[in-house]
């Protein structure tokens, strides 16, 4: 049952993945500008460029290069970074942890806070609490993320000195053990707050709308009529059903969070994939660019997959056909 459903969903995902791979590869190779310049630097002569071109297989035809690339990806080989001369997989793996930490924390924080705020607003729908929360959420959503990041940096870090200015650890690396964890946590706070602020709005609004609809529906009236406590009614029955659209949205939000993470990482000097993306861009390190692009796309695919599964769990009406 569940196994078959998962299997079917995975099969459905394959063409998506293939499509993304194709698009990414074509983009990088159809772009103007000679990739050999990134490899060989800007002062070489014709012989040197020819030598580098051959070395990196840039002189073969496009379909040949595509076939080679796809074959490599299937074996887990994303190529070699032009600039660093190391496997792309290594380059990305080193930074993945930092971005994962930042993004996952922001996801959890924004989901929890968003649902809570949505609850608050919906339970007294139309009242002053509702209005404040909704307005605040909307305001946060409408402001560009780099703006909020800069303001936070200037006020909370520099003026008040509450948080460190940049980086993931203090200079020289984190100390071992609990002190290390606390050090990272201190550096993590501001970036996570800023990143989460963008998402809180969306989650709040969706929870609120979903809850309002649910609270007005039939089986909630029945539950109330049965004499169940209000809090129980809202908390379990309504919430579970209302979380449906929220879960869908959270899944799709992974892509949005990752984009926000790029900006936050730049402002706060967080050593993750976002900054790697920017430096790869400036140096035209195509394999790394493509690697990151694929990674992000795959993350979204996986997030969607998990969301679908969670969707099914939350709403028993969805049969695992």
């Amino acid at each position: 049952m569940i196994g078959r459903y998962v299997g079917r969903r995975l099969l459905q995902v394959l063409p998506t993945v293939a499509g993304i791979l194709l698009i990414g590869f074509l983009l990088l190779h159809l772009a103007p500008g000679d990739p050999v310049l990134a490899l060989a630097g800007e002062h070489g002569d014709a012989a040197y460029y020819a030598f580098m071109r051959e070395k990196f297989g840039l002189d073969r035809s496009l379909p040949q290069q595509l076939a080679t690339y796809v074959g490599n990806v299937l074996r887990g080989d994303l190529g070699v970074s032009y600039i660093q001369g190391r496997p792309v997989v290594d380059v990305i793996a080193e930074r993945l942890g930092a971005t994962l930490l930042l993004t996952a924390s922001a996801l959890v924080l924004s989901s929890a806070a968003g649902i809570l705020l949505g609850l608050l607003a919906a339970s007294r729908s139309g009242g002053p609490r509702d209005v404040t929360v909704s307005a605040g959420a909307l305001g946060l959503y409408a402001a560009p993320v780099f703006w909020i990041a800069q303001l936070a940096l200037l006020t909370l870090s520099l003026r008040i000195g509450l948080f460190p200015v940049q980086g993931m650890t203090r200079p020289g690396g984190a100390p071992a053990g609990l002190a290390g964890v606390l050090d990272v946590a201190r550096h993590l706070t501001l970036p996570v707050l800023v990143l989460a602020s963008q998402e809180i709005a969306a989650v709040t609004r969706l929870t609120r709308i979903g809850l309002i609809e649910e609270l007005a529906s039939d089986h909630i009236r029945t539950a109330r009529a049965k004499g169940l406590a209000e809090r129980f009614v809202v908390g379990t029955h309504a919430l579970r059903r209302a979380l449906l659209p929220v879960v869908t949205v959270i899944g799709g939000r992974v892509g949005h969070l990752l984009s926000g993470a790029v900006v936050v990482e730049v402002v706060f000097g967080w050593p993750g994939l976002g900054r790697l993306l920017l430096s790869a861009m400036q140096t035209r390190d195509s394999p790394v660019l493509l690697g990151i692009f694929l990674l992000v796309a795959f993350s979204v695919v996986i997030a969607n997959l998990l969301t679908d599964l969670a969707y099914g769990w939350l709403d028993p009406r969805i049969a695992y056909r």
């Binding site: 000679d34 990134a38 002062h43 200015v165 050593p271």
Partner: protein, 539 residues
């Protein structure tokens, strides 16, 4: 001649023995304090820590403390001994004989010998370091190592600039026993370097930081003073300044213009100005005219454009004063070659309008000018052209566009990322004008000749963008490369500058400087190369 060679050698050795290393900042009369950690902010993740296989500024900034070159350069670009303790020039400058220091060891204890030098040049620098390769390959004949402490460079003809191309930025020496038999670009030592420099490698966390510690066996007696140097990657210059002010970082490589005033007033911060950078020294922002286009055939148009540009405004609004208006085609950072009192067009809008009128560009009111009897341009064509630039130089384009609009020229900006820019300008030659930061380097032979040499018009990036062809100038450059005496060379370069100042294939806007900033607690820095070699902190 033999006598002359010996005299030159004596002169250099005298200077060499007198110098003690890179100039130190004035830090009061306190005795240097040993110990402590210096935290440095760097703009880009180096990726690799081998400065011999790349000219990338990021790699060089992060790694130069761990390496040395044969010959260093003092504050006035005078050669000072580094790995080489003395040298002789023979055969009118076609043979250079270096005697290497005794007792130098690599960070892993292996002794340093002449074999390392020969290997570094032949297998690494001449293969992968683009500037060294470009300048030495055509003229170098052979490198010989008669014994462990002697290296001889033989050139096909006298080659004057060699001593200025042997510092850690242009020709760092790497270890033969580490790189022999491997592919230098893939060798794991590139992220765990073994050098001879004042600091040894400890760790590299990609994207985050590079940690180095004191080299107790460094060949300069008593140096370095610091125990550790940590380089943190902070890509945003504004964030670097914030980190410096918050005390999280002790030294940053560049201060953005807007923050300069505030830092100058801050008693806890000291600033150092310099033109020398790991990525390129003595750089001039230069506008090129594509001389292959009929539009720019008339020198009056080029002179008019030059006269219409208020270069002080560029200095003030784009650079915030970090630099100087260019007074000659060769940077003032190379004082013996820089031409003083050259007759360049001054900022004069009235003169610009007069020249444009005279060249046949008529104007109605305040509109864009149109051609009336301009050779090679149909009547009625508007005075409109494009301007290519790196995205980081957008402000130059915007100011230029605004200033030229005042005299009736319409400029369209085309920002292009470096690889695309290079292909469009040098391979396709599809541009009217552009702006390029042409770095002169430490000697005009390195960075200036390529702009004017008619044999250098082609696909090599940062070559002769204007497509300037003047056989007299070509001849003079070749002569300057062969002439040994500095004063005589300077005369030749002056002749060149006078000619090109009249022809105006380019317009030299501003010389750019960098401003380093460091906490007032630390002192003894030099603004380039092994900058923290003599630094110490009193706190």
């Amino acid at each position: 001649m033999r006598v002359r060679g010996i005299l030159v050698m004596l002169a250099f050795v005298t200077v060499a023995c007198g110098a003690a290393g890179p100039t130190q900042t004035q830090g009061g009369t306190a005795e240097p304090v040993r110990g402590g950690t210096l935290v440095v902010g760097i703009t880009s993740d180096p990726g690799g820590l081998n400065p011999a296989i790349t000219t990338s500024g990021g790699t060089h900034t992060a790694s130069e403390l761990m390496y040395n070159g044969l010959v260093g350069l003092g504050p006035n670009l005078e050669p000072v001994p580094e790995l080489a303790e003395s040298w002789e020039i023979e055969g009118d400058g076609a043979i250079y004989r270096f005697t290497l220091r005794d007792g130098v060891t690599w960070h892993d204890g292996t002794p340093f010998t002449s074999a390392d030098v020969k290997f570094s040049f032949e297998e690494v620098l001449l293969e992968f370091h683009s500037r060294t390769r470009a300048s030495l390959m055509p003229v170098l004949d052979a490198i010989e190592t008669p014994d462990e402490r002697t290296v001889v460079f033989r050139f096909r003809q006298p080659y004057a600039p060699l001593l200025l191309q042997l510092d850690v930025t242009e020709a760092p020496i790497v270890a033969k026993h580490i790189y022999e038999g491997t592919d230098p670009q893939q060798n794991p030592a590139n992220t765990a370097p073994v050098g001879t420099g004042p600091f040894k490698f400890v760790s590299y966390t990609p994207g985050a930081e590079v940690v180095m510690e004191r080299n107790p066996d460094y060949f300069k007696e008593g140096l370095p003073y610091l125990d550790r140097v940590i380089e943190r990657v902070i890509p945003e210059e504004g964030s670097q300044v914030i980190a410096l002010e918050a005390g999280e970082v002790d030294w940053i490589w560049g201060v953005p213009g807007p923050d300069q005033q505030r830092l100058e007033a801050d008693p806890g911060v000291e600033l150092i100005r310099t033109d020398r950078n790991p990525g390129g020294s003595n750089c001039i922002m230069t506008v090129s005219f594509n001389l292959e286009r009929p539009l720019f055939a008339d020198p009056r148009l080029r002179e008019a454009i030059a006269s219409a540009l208020d270069r002080d405004q560029f200095l003030e609004r784009v650079l915030f004063g970090q630099g100087r208006v260019a007074q000659a085609p060769i940077s003032s950072g190379i004082p013996w070659a820089h031409a003083e009192d050259l007759a360049l067009p001054a900022y004069d809008r009235a003169e610009a309008e007069r020249l444009l009128d005279a060249a046949g560009w008529a104007r109605e009111g305040n509109g864009v000018r149109t051609a009336q009897g301009v050779e090679g341009v149909p009547d009625g064509t508007p005075l409109a052209f494009d301007f290519l630039h790196f995205p980081t130089f957008t402000q130059y384009g915007e100011l230029l566009r605004a200033q030229l609009a005042d005299v009736g020229a319409e400029v369209t900006l085309r920002p292009l990322e470096p690889p695309v820019f290079v292909e469009t300008v040098f391979t396709e030659r599809d541009f009217d004008t552009n702006v390029i930061s042409y770095c002169n380097g430490n000697d005009p032979e390195i960075g200036v000749r390529r702009m004017f040499d008619s044999s250098n018009i082609g696909t090599v990036p940062f070559s002769n963008a204007a497509a300037y062809r003047n056989p007299e100038v070509d001849r003079l450059f070749a002569e300057a490369a062969r002439t040994l005496g500095r004063d005589e060379r300077g005369d030749v370069y002056r002749q060149i500058q006078e000619i090109v100042a009249g022809d105006l294939p380019y317009w030299w806007l501003v010389e750019t400087s960098a401003t380093r900033a460091h906490t007032a607690d630390c002192t003894g820095f030099s603004p380039y190369a092994q900058f923290a070699e003599s630094a110490y902190c009193t706190r």
